[in-house]
Symmetry: C2
Subunit: 188 residues, 2 copies
């Protein structure tokens, strides 16, 4: 059964990762890219292995310059956007631009994911839209030991009914606390 | 050497505990009081054993009704307030009301704590004042698997220079992820 899993890094004060950070790959400080090792790599590798497709927002895609010419993902990525854009293929990764909303993106991502999970990689607004629609089954939050002070908060603009969370796993390195939550959506 | 340690519960979306929650004792959901056991109790007991005095804000004190007629703390508590109020003693716990600011409260708390730590128990505004003044040495954050959606954020109104954090310990139960940070204050 495919789960929809939010996979994102957040500072201790609740802000999402800056421009240098990839899909749930940890928060670098001072703009240095973060090369995960140990537990951080383990968590990232498990997420990748369980993921069959990802959804990101256009801004996230632009901020990382479409992940450049490398192919960091072994699965299709669906990019939510308001403007049409032709599909782009980089190695094993395909980027499909979806202009007709989150339900459409999710349907396409589910289809592509097979029996694996669909990862929601950010940004904050996309995560908030999926949470508000009651479409999230789990969250993998990479909590970075950093205070950012300003920017875009991950959990913002959330109205009732708020989902109930169950904390199902915690792993940590000096660089992050990785917390997995099950999300129990309430009827509205 | 006495450390100043912020000890507080926070929801995943960054809000501080509601009225039912004691000093860093975890976030109850739906207003039910939380009786820690296992890891949660262990973390709380260690904090208590290492603490020689605590500082809280008047609103926090009022919200829990001065912790009633029981004596949950085995150390003196200093309550930051703008209005004079006579010292109150409940069993082993004394409540001293401090009207001349955080430095004065800290000096009195340090004096009372001996070689143990001074705990900053909340609310958010008090924590923010101590952080802004560069007076915090460590933080013990009890991150509750709850989305609250609105209220008072713990990390808000933080301006530069923001302290650097070092994540020095993580323990978890199904009820919370307890994260300990060292706080490295930057010169301003």
């Amino acid at each position: 059964m495919t789960d929809v899993v939010v996979d994102i890094s957040m500072s201790l004060d609740g802000f999402v990762a800056g421009p240098d950070d990839g899909l749930g790959r940890g928060l670098g400080e001072g703009g240095a890219p973060f090369r995960p090792t140990g537990v951080d790599k383990e968590v990232g590798d498990e997420m990748s292995a369980g993921t069959g497709a990802a959804i990101v927002g256009r801004r996230t895609y632009d901020v990382v310059d479409g992940w450049g010419d490398e192919s960091p993902f072994g699965f299709p990525v669906f990019v939510l956007t308001s403007r049409e854009h032709p599909r782009r293929d980089v190695g094993e990764t395909s980027y499909t631009f979806v202009t007709d909303g989150i339900e459409s993106a999710l349907a396409q991502a589910r289809e592509a994911a097979g029996d694996k999970d669909v990862s929601i990689g950010g940004g904050a607004r996309v995560v908030q839209q999926f949470l508000a629609a009651g479409l999230v089954d789990a969250m993998q939050i990479h909590l970075a030991p950093v205070l950012v002070g300003e920017g875009t908060r991950l959990f913002d603009h959330l109205g009732p009914p708020l989902p109930r969370l169950e904390q199902v796993g915690v792993r940590h390195s000096p660089y992050a606390t990785h917390i997995r939550y099950r999300v129990e959506n309430r009827s509205r």
